[in-house]
Symmetry: C2
Subunit: 588 residues, 2 copies
């Protein structure tokens, strides 16, 4: 595939999964890390690996003498030797003329290592991110000055070597300043304006030689600043916002040179704007789901990108349009006395439908250490959530799942429209029925005769907005359902609304008697309930097992209701000596 | 997860993929194979592997001293030492009291090694398989005797060490007998009655401690007796036959003791019966697709089974109900002068949507040697086939894709029913429309009033038979659509058929005015076309991008047709001095 040997800085779990992907493509990899049995080295008997630190220039030089291209699974590497390694004179004198390439660009790694500089590059590139202030010298006055500009709370952060919440301090008022200084005072610092977000999102982005492409948007849930669970696609976030998030992530990555995969973390703010939080110039925990849920994983795509191998445009989509996924981290037990307790979570996942366990070969666990992860995949988020529920609860130290402040409304998949608000009483039962089946829908007025332009734009945009079924109610010369059907390929269900004349026969015939070529699925006069139930049947027929089950339960409920009434009618009341129908009548 | 070390007999590609699965579960594996850099050893630096043959007793003994449980990636192993290893006295005296378990059972491996015995066990177990005859001594007379019992052609096969077609000879007439003897005469032989099959199928089956479970049914296509391409699920094979095939495979595996995964190859005969061809007591080439298309791969499930780890019931299904998959083998080039040509296929796969490349680390290729495989996954077989087309063509030495004799009809997803055959003229346009959209459907008579029991059983079985939409036509007191809707959760489209009385108003109102709770999607009187088009919209709304595209093209076609007519009507014919409508009228 490519005969070059890839040197990887770091041999942890990200390196391990990178090596796994490399094996499938028969790519030769060689690892630099201190432990001789690091997670990545365990699964690679192809080469003799280098024992040493990825922050040590001599070790990186040694790696360079054994490989053709260097990449990193961690950003805390010595970029000065990387800078040297790429220079022709260094290669000529120190590498005996051997060429070596660095991907991603060492300049990108160096910038990203310093979170303050990272923010500056994003801001200079016009990418929305939190406002930042440099702190030249860590002093009470300097931190008070920040407070007077940003207000409280604000985030005090170490510019370097900060990850999983280490190196961050939330300054909630002036009173916190001494504690902040005692914790972080010796480190290079900067301040970030507080982001009032309702949700955290993350997007993996790959930049190859030709294109920048984002994966689906993950909703990330942290506890104590450590990622615990990802939901893909992000729950309750409209397609429009997801599309914006992906574009924004692509834009952020474009601000940095070099090839490879990048993890982009961002905030969805209370006002539904997006702010970039930070970037990682490498595969990222929030992209682990791509191994099981996407055609090409973040690890393989990283290798393809740095080696200029092809990346088809669908590589970063979900495997099928119906795929939903949840990733749960397996962390070392919070109790240091139970170093193997994390395996309980892994074991329990073996019994869960759609779950795949990935353990990293790290031996006994330490509190908060990433020991592995579990990906659960299925045909709908409802199904995956139900299957993952016990794992998710166990993934949080507190056992309680944090509830993020969500956007007001999930993306609708059914649209209920009516020719006039006077039709609303007929459509209300449709709304209530969809609500009962937990189907997200929208409801509005679209008039064929009074707002023809709106009707056309409504119909044309429906598919791209994620709508799968349209319910249209109209009365009299009831043209709305048929006209909408003429402008969309979606199934349109027509509800004839009974007007003051002709008992609804005008409505029903206007809707049902469509010309050959443009069907409308017509239900009975004023029967909004049936329109919604038909929509449920249509949605379930697309393969949503959970919905089918809810529908079958609903039918069972109807049957039981009628049978109960039958029983009342049949039962002779001996006390009063009356037939059931007589008692029934009296109780009405 | 499990602290036992697994010894694997054989270190080829099956062992490699087993080790890959073991790594993810942090299971320790140790390999026995002659090459020090065999495919499986390359990816396992956890243990010191054994250099030696899996057919050599001393090497297997050495493996046993280093592991707790022995399994195999190949069946051509020395079963005599395996038999010894399990004996308590051997363990006490030769293994220093160390226990070692063999899975699958050595008796199973021994029986399966001898294809004649394998057939006898299947036949004794009541499993349908080809008739066999033993051949005590290979002589012209013996082979003639077989011919006089089985007729010609029949298959002459080596009882042992036969795979990828080696050790098989098709005896087409008495004239072939000398050549058959010269090729196979020195081997232990038996004869198989010729199987007149239209298609070859394969099912992976896992037997754990509690259950026997089959994966989806793969259609296997061979060239020169070597597997080239698998289609999953098997194309054009009804759900009913697939279910039978899976049950049969499970039954076949149940005839042999021991835990683990088994590959079951079978024939779909001209008369739609199924015959077992042969079993492999290990992961199998026809199950490679499970890595990318199922929640749990055949390799991981094998490990789970032999270690008594949990296997959820959905582990062997496809990842989502819409998943389709094609597996293409990457073989060494038929031209020995181009030992790296197989990489061209792998490289071209990198550009294909939904494709994952698995190379086995075997170095230069030899003709016909399995160097890797490609799995293509997508949301429909049509999509996957379109994407895989160039790979499939290249996978066959001849470049020509063999066309198997297919079952007459693919599994229908739409059912068209009518109350009486007199309704057929109204439903014919529905049939023609579905045909145009390449949607498999069935068409029959079901009468609510005259065959009520048939109607109920039809409606109850529809979901499990794979039907996603029902079109029901009826006239007069048209109860069929509504009654069917009462007995199924599928969307039912009602077509009112105009009778001799009341101009179809009776039919339409009988169909559309359903009570709250049971919807019928009603279309216009006699409008079978629109019923089918509504079915297309419903199916496309489930996420079938290809179908949506065909539908949009169809709508475009309608528009162009009407616009062309408009043009004719508008055009003044200067030669004859007539308006378009006049010319139009005359030409009618």
């Amino acid at each position: 595939m490519d005969s070059r040997t890839i040197g990887i800085l770091g041999g942890g779990q990200l390196g391990r999964m990178m090596v796994e992907a490399a094996h499938r493509l028969n790519l030769s990899t060689i690892l630099l890390d201190t432990p001789p049995d690091s997670p990545a080295k365990q699964i690679n008997a192809l080469n003799t690996h280098i024992q040493g630190s990825f922050a040590d220039a001599a070790s990186i030089h040694e790696l360079a003498t054994n490989c053709d291209i260097i990449t990193a699974e961690i950003e805390h590497v010595d970029t000065h030797i990387l800078e040297q390694l790429e220079k022709p004179e260094y290669q000529a004198t120190k590498l005996g003329g051997k060429k070596v390439e660095i991907q991603p660009d060492w300049k990108t790694i160096r910038t990203i290592q310093d979170k303050y500089l990272q923010h500056k590059v994003l801001i200079d590139g016009g990418v929305p991110t939190a406002e930042v202030l440099p702190i030249q010298e860590a002093s009470e006055q300097a931190l008070k000055d920040v407070g007077s500009v940003f207000g409280y709370p604000y985030m005090l952060k170490s510019r370097t070597m900060a990850y999983d919440g280490r190196g961050n301090f939330a300054v909630t008022s002036e009173k916190d300043i001494p504690e902040a200084l005692s914790q972080l005072g010796t480190r290079p610092l900067y301040a970030e304006k507080w982001a009032h977000f309702k949700m955290e999102l993350a997007v993996m982005v790959v930049r190859g030689k030709d294109a920048v492409m984002g994966y689906p948007v993950a909703e990330t849930v942290h506890e104590k600043s450590i990622l615990r669970v990802c939901y893909i696609p992000a729950r309750g976030v409209s397609k429009e916002i997801q599309e914006r998030a992906r574009k924004l992530a692509e834009q952020a990555v474009s601000a940095f040179p070099g090839k490879g995969v990048f993890g982009v973390e961002m905030f969805l703010m209370d006002d539904e704007t997006l702010l970039i939080n930070e970037l990682a110039p490498r595969p990222h925990n929030s992209g682990h789901y791509t191994i099981d849920a996407c055609p090409t994983s973040q690890f393989e795509i990283h290798l393809r990108a740095i080696l200029d191998l092809p990346i088809p445009p669908t590589a970063t989509s979900l495997s099928t349009p119906t795929t939903s996924s949840i990733m749960v981290n397996i962390l070392g037990s919070p109790d240091p006395n139970t170093p193997w307790a994390h395996l309980d979570l892994a074991r329990s996942a073996l019994s869960i439908p759609g779950a795949t366990v990935h353990l990293y070969g790290k031996g006994p666990g330490r509190p908060g250490r990433k020991m592995g992860h579990i990906t659960i995949v299925g045909a709908s988020m409802a199904e995956v959530q139900a299957n993952a529920a016990p794992l998710i609860a166990a993934a949080f130290d507190t056992g309680e799942i944090p509830v993020p402040k969500r956007p007001a409304r999930p993306t609708p998949i059914v649209s209920i429209i009516m020719g006039s608000d006077s039709d609303l009483p007929v459509l209300i039962p449709a709304c209530q029925t969809l609500q009962k089946f937990q189907i997200p829908f929208e409801c509005t007025v679209v008039s064929a005769h009074r707002t023809p332009a709106r009707m056309v734009s409504f119909a044309h945009s429906a598919v791209s907005r994620g709508i799968r079924v349209i319910i249209a109610g109209a009365g009299g010369a009831a043209h709305l359902p048929g006209m909408v059907a003429s402008e969309t390929s979606l199934p349109v269900i027509g509800v004839p609304v009974r007007g003051s004349q002709l008992a609804g026969v005008d409505s029903i015939l206007s809707i049902v008697q469509m010309p050959r070529g443009i069907p409308v699925a017509t239900v009975g006069i004023n029967n909004g309930t049936n329109a919604a139930l038909l929509a449920v049947r249509i949605l379930a027929s697309g393969g949503d097992a959970g919905l089918t089950e809810r529908y079958v339960r609903f039918v069972k409920g109807m049957e039981e209701e009628v049978l109960a009434k039958a029983e009342r009618l049949e039962k002779f009341d001996e006390e009063v000596g009356k037939e059931g129908w007589e008692v029934y009548l009296e109780s009405k």
